[in-house]
């Protein structure tokens, strides 16, 4: 019984790995697209450098909110690169298109979990962009502000937080995509999510510059723990901060999974599948 279960688990995992591999290869096939996205991020980082170097000059100190100019730029650059690697296309757009075209009905009938299949494809699709973006922003930051010191543990644990953050972002955008079963067009809902992430996710204004109460609220919301916290830990590692981020991330993964599963189950009631 046990060896059979092992084989079955291995087969299950192989299916999802294959889905990730296909998405990876189809994304990596268009290097011009990957590089053109990097151009936008690079330009944005250059603008951030202009804004924050003027800010640091006007304040007159070396540090604002515990971060130096170099650290701040690295945090913003990494946050931008992580977030930009996840889209476009966003998972909500993909699910919405599947629902609109009717492909959703075929996909849910296939012998795999709809949610895990999309998670695997999403990770596979994001990896080439993530690699190019991170390499690109590192080069831009090195030119603008030079290197910063990081330890092996900060890189390892920061990457762990990034993985958990990717799952949180996936679960929430996936739920938005599933809402197409009720509201037809999810563009507005997605853009609301994206823009809340822009403000409360520290993508332009780091959380360290927020007023006290707003900062403590933002740190507990899923928007900041998706990408900003991982970038912050990679640049300026701190164990108490790490454990606090992990706690919030685990909570939002459970909450996100519950929301996605509920949306999926309820949505399935309104789907009619005909043979043929």
């Amino acid at each position: 019984m046990i060896p059979l279960m092992r084989i079955s688990w291995r087969r299950e995992i192989l299916k999802y790995l294959e889905a990730a591999r296909i998405s990876f290869r189809s994304r990596a096939a268009y290097p011009i697209t990957l590089l053109s996205r990097l151009l936008t991020i690079g330009l944005r980082i250059w603008i951030f450098y202009a804004v924050y170097s003027a800010t640091y000059r006007s304040v007159g100190g070396d540090q604002i909110g515990g971060l130096s100019l170099a650290q701040l730029l690295w945090v913003l650059a990494l946050t931008q690169s992580f977030q930009a690697s996840m889209r476009p296309p966003s998972i909500s757009t993909i699910v919405e298109e599947e629902i609109r075209s009717g492909e959703f009905a075929y996909t849910v009938c296939r012998p795999f979990s709809y949610v895990i299949y999309h998670l695997a494809s999403h990770i596979g699709r994001s990896l080439p962009t993530l690699f190019v973006n991170v390499c690109g922003v590192c080069a831009v930051c090195l030119v603008l502000v030079g290197p910063i010191s990081v330890s092996t543990s900060s890189v390892g644990l920061g990457l762990l937080c990034l993985c958990l953050g990717i799952i949180i972002d996936f679960l929430l955008t996936f739920s938005i995509g599933l809402s197409a079963l009720w509201i037809e067009d999810t563009f507005g809902a997605f853009i609301l999510y994206q823009k809340t992430q822009l403000v409360l996710g520290g993508q332009i204004l780091p959380l360290t510059m927020f007023p006290g109460l707003m900062r403590s609220i933002a740190e507990r919301l899923p928007f900041a723990v998706s990408f900003y916290s991982a970038a912050h830990l990679l640049v300026d590692f701190d164990y108490p901060l790490f454990w606090s981020v992990i706690g919030v991330q685990v909570f939002w993964i459970l909450a996100g999974a519950l929301i996605a599963q509920t949306c999926f189950r309820r949505g399935m009631r309104s789907v009619s599948i005909n043979g043929g």
Binding site: T33, T40, L43, V51, A54, S58, L192, T196
Partner: protein, 265 residues
């Protein structure tokens, strides 16, 4: 020429009306979409409000100037995206050889393609501009007129940039995604206090991404009510628009048809 323009405007109005009515079919989605675009704009207002609360002065810029910048930029690209959304899809149409359809009409293919898609959600940008007006201390009629004139010319610079950047698809294959990134980059320059742009970055804003003429100069003209600056913006916008039309027409000669039109006898 004039008749062609009037026809295009009439067609644009009809297509806009059609699009508006079809969007209203799904009212909930329509309102969420408008709200989404509105939230998109308000996001930057909120970010800069938080920023200026902590750092009231950024190279001589304050929250008041940033309000004008955000309102003017949103109105400039808002009206282009609302009425001429088709311009953002031009590279895609060229790459897929789908321009044939537009070539078969007795109006210029660019004008028809530009108005073939509208984005009603951009009403959110206009709503946002109204909020900015509400927050800005100067609400005189002169200010409103200057605002609208400068937003028109700012939008014209943006439209010309769209035509120019999307026309690169005539020369470079698979350029759709890159073309989209280019116009997002152009908008990115309009969302930050303009006082921080100097040196090489200012040079980029004057050449590769002419955002200086889309937002920096219009904002300066609006804040100072300067006729010289207005004339500069207007003349650059007109020349740049003519140049972009020339580039499109030249690129059109290289266009390779997708053979999508079949004639029945």
């Amino acid at each position: 020429m004039l008749g062609n323009c009037i026809n295009c405007l009439r067609l644009s109005f009809e297509l806009f009306k059609l699009s508006f009515l079809s969007e209203l079919e799904y009212r909930f989605s329509f309102f969420v979409k408008v709200l989404g675009i509105f939230a998109n704009d308000i996001t930057f207002l909120l970010i800069w409000y938080l920023y200026f609360m902590r750092f009231p002065d950024l190279n001589g810029w304050h929250f008041k100037e940033t309000l004008v910048l955000l309102g003017l930029s949103a109105t400039s690209y808002g009206w282009v995206l609302m009425i001429l959304r088709g311009l953002t899809q031009l590279a895609r149409t060229i790459c897929r050889g789908e321009l044939d359809y537009y070539l078969s009409f007795p109006v210029h293919p660019l004008s028809l393609h530009a108005v073939s898609r509208t984005d009603i959600g951009s009403i959110g940008d206009i709503l946002y501009a109204l909020i900015v007006f509400g927050l800005y201390p100067d609400r005189s009629l002169a200010f409103i007129v200057w605002f609208l004139v400068l937003a028109f010319f700012g939008g014209l610079v943006f439209a010309a940039f769209l035509i120019l950047s999307q026309s690169i698809a005539f020369y470079v294959a698979n350029f759709e995604d890159a073309a989209e990134q280019l116009w997002w980059s152009m908008i990115a320059f309009c969302l930050y206090p303009q006082s921080v742009f100097d040196g090489a970055l200012r040079l980029v804003m004057l050449t590769v991404f002419p955002a200086f003429f889309m937002c920096s100069l219009p904002v300066a003209a609006l804040l100072e009510f300067s006729w010289t600056k207005l004339a500069l913006v207007a003349s650059f916008a007109s020349c740049f628009f003519v140049l972009s039309l020339g580039v499109f027409n030249r690129g059109l000669r290289r266009y390779e048809s997708g053979n999508l039109i079949s004639v029945l006898r």
